[in-house]
């Protein structure tokens, strides 16, 4: 069974199930713009929670509990009503600072990214922020970001209730140690190894002697993902859902 799953599992599916495992037991997960894999993970976690997990997904009409415009998500976060959120970065550094603005000496950026979105706020206020970036290269995972859209840590006088929980990439998973302000490699995806990850990571991080392989999903989880969840994802991310899961029926 495990061999069967490993052979049919798309890399994106493993990322989805890995992130979904980080959301179990939560009450409310919000998903921002351009987040098909985190969005799929949130919907998978919701499907497994038997409806206990609320998902608020930007761009979705089915999964949006808000009636007070774009600001309501942020107001909810400040009140502690959002347990988990996802952020990414054109650059992410070893202290979990993220850069969504550009490469080079701002404002004269050589490469311009889309912008900071709500990161400079939500990173401070959502307890479990999962950093997600599929591309795992020294170009993305840098020693120090060129521009801090949102800092990974703050001075102790900041009233900060949120911050980085983990970093999930196409090669593996890191936990973040807030006290040491450092990542620790916690698992390696099948087909990748620790040397390769060290080589393609631009920042220094902690790692044990033996790093486990990222846990594969079980059969029922995969079935749920490829069935009900795929259809739900298609409502917000039709191109992604079709590419990954084939024919889907948006609800």
């Amino acid at each position: 069974m495990n061999g069967e799953i490993a052979s049919s599992l798309a890399p994106e599916e493993l990322l989805i199930t890995t992130v979904a495992d980080m959301l179990s037991g939560l009450r409310h997960v919000a998903v921002g713009a351009q987040s098909p894999i985190p969005g799929s993970a949130a919907l998978l976690a919701r499907a497994r929670s038997d409806g206990a997990l609320r998902v608020s997904m930007l761009g979705s009409e089915t999964h949006s509990p808000f009636t007070d415009g774009g600001r309501e998500l942020f107001d909810c976060a400040a009140q502690g009503r959002i347990d988990a959120f996802f952020l990414s970065g054109g650059q992410i550094d070893g202290e979990a600072n993220i850069n969504l603005v550009g490469i080079g000496d701002y404002p004269e950026t050589k490469v311009r990214f889309p912008g900071s979105f709500g990161s400079a706020y939500l990173y401070f206020l959502v307890p479990r922020v999962i950093l997600f970036r599929e591309e795992h290269t020294a170009r993305v995972l840098v020693p120090k970001v060129d521009f801090v859209s949102a800092p990974g840590s703050s001075d102790t006088n900041m009233n900060r209730t949120g911050g980085p929980h983990a970093l999930v990439t196409g090669r593996g998973v890191f936990d973040f140690d807030a006290n040491k302000r450092r990542f620790r490699l916690s698992s390696v995806h099948p087909g990748h190894d620790t040397d390769e990850i060290r080589e393609h990571t631009g920042f220094d991080y902690d790692s044990g002697e033996q790093v486990p392989e990222t846990r594969l999903p079980d059969g029922p989880t995969l079935e749920l993902l490829r069935g009900q969840v795929a259809d739900e994802v298609a409502e917000t991310y039709p191109a992604f859902a079709t590419r990954l899961f084939g024919a889907v029926t948006a609800p």
């Binding site: 889309p114 400079a120 949102a150």
Partner: protein, 274 residues
């Protein structure tokens, strides 16, 4: 009230060069028909405010040379990838980008809607955004010093909020449903210009189910009926984005020549929406 209902071309004429114009993101209500009219009339030096981000609408106005300043939390085309004309303009330094973050934009507009000078916002401290904003300052909580520092963002008062909505009535009431970022925009801006899919022959405020999702006419200066007015982006509850067209835009907007040919074909010589 006789001048209330007009055309999208007239709305574009009434948005002066240099105006501060608040725009909704692509998933909310974008008056693309007025954006095209602004490009056609050769609008210049606009200061766009993304509430809290802009998409195709912003990219097209930037590419057409209508924009001097862009104040936004992001420029995003979602699944379609990076915004080509914005990227090119940012690289060339031909627009001034005021980088913000979503809740600071919402809060700045909330200050304006309350008629107060600023609004405190959590977070942000430690972000490089703060270093580049002279309209944001850090402060302590005057009621509780233990609370830690806060950022005060100056009120954002747009000259014009420009939106597209499914329904408008002849009193200028605009039905926006749950897309209440457009309510915030209308409250904060000096004037609100609207295009609507349909003119509703009745009073939207008289319907108790609709009234809470309706911008009262007191905020609205002018409106125009424009079926498919959000095309080629979508309009909530009505139609989705025109995927094939947006992909064609992206393809052509990759180069200056391609973008010019796009404007020639779809903006200067407008075609009916599909």
């Amino acid at each position: 009230m006789s001048e209330l209902v007009t055309s999208a071309e007239d709305l574009a004429e009434r948005i002066p060069d240099g105006a501060k114009v608040a725009l909704a993101p692509d998933y909310s209500g974008c008056s693309m028909v007025t954006a095209r009219a602004l490009i056609s009339r050769g609008a210049k030096n606009l200061h766009l405010i993304g509430v809290p981000s802009v998409g195709f609408q912003g990219d097209m106005l930037i590419g057409a040379g209508c924009v001097k300043t862009l104040e936004t939390a992001a420029v995003t085309l979602d699944e379609y990838g990076p915004a080509p004309r914005f990227m090119a303009a940012a690289k060339a330094g031909s627009i001034n980008v005021i980088d913000g973050t979503c809740p600071a934009i919402h809060s700045g507009l909330q200050a304006a809607e309350k008629g107060i000078p600023f609004m405190p916002v959590r977070g942000i401290i430690g972000s490089d955004l703060l270093e580049h904003r002279d309209d944001w300052i850090t402060s302590t909580d005057p009621f509780d010093e233990q609370d830690g520092p806060l950022v005060l963002v100056k009120a954002i008062r747009p000259d014009i909020a420009l939106i597209h909505a499914p329904l408008a009535d002849r009193n200028g009431n605009i039905w926006i449903g749950v897309r209440r970022e457009m309510m915030l925009m209308a409250h904060a801006a000096r004037e609100t210009f609207v295009t609507a899919e349909e003119i509703y022959d009745g009073d939207l405020l008289a319907d108790e189910a609709r009234a809470p999702g309706t911008i009262p006419g007191l905020y609205v200066s002018a409106l125009a009926e424009a079926a498919s007015g959000a095309w080629p982006v979508g309009l909530f509850g009505r139609y989705g984005p025109d995927d094939a067209h947006l992909r064609e835009y992206l393809e052509r907007a990759r180069t200056d020549e391609g973008f010019a040919s796009y404007l020639e074909e779809f903006v200067y010589t407008p075609r009916a929406a599909k």
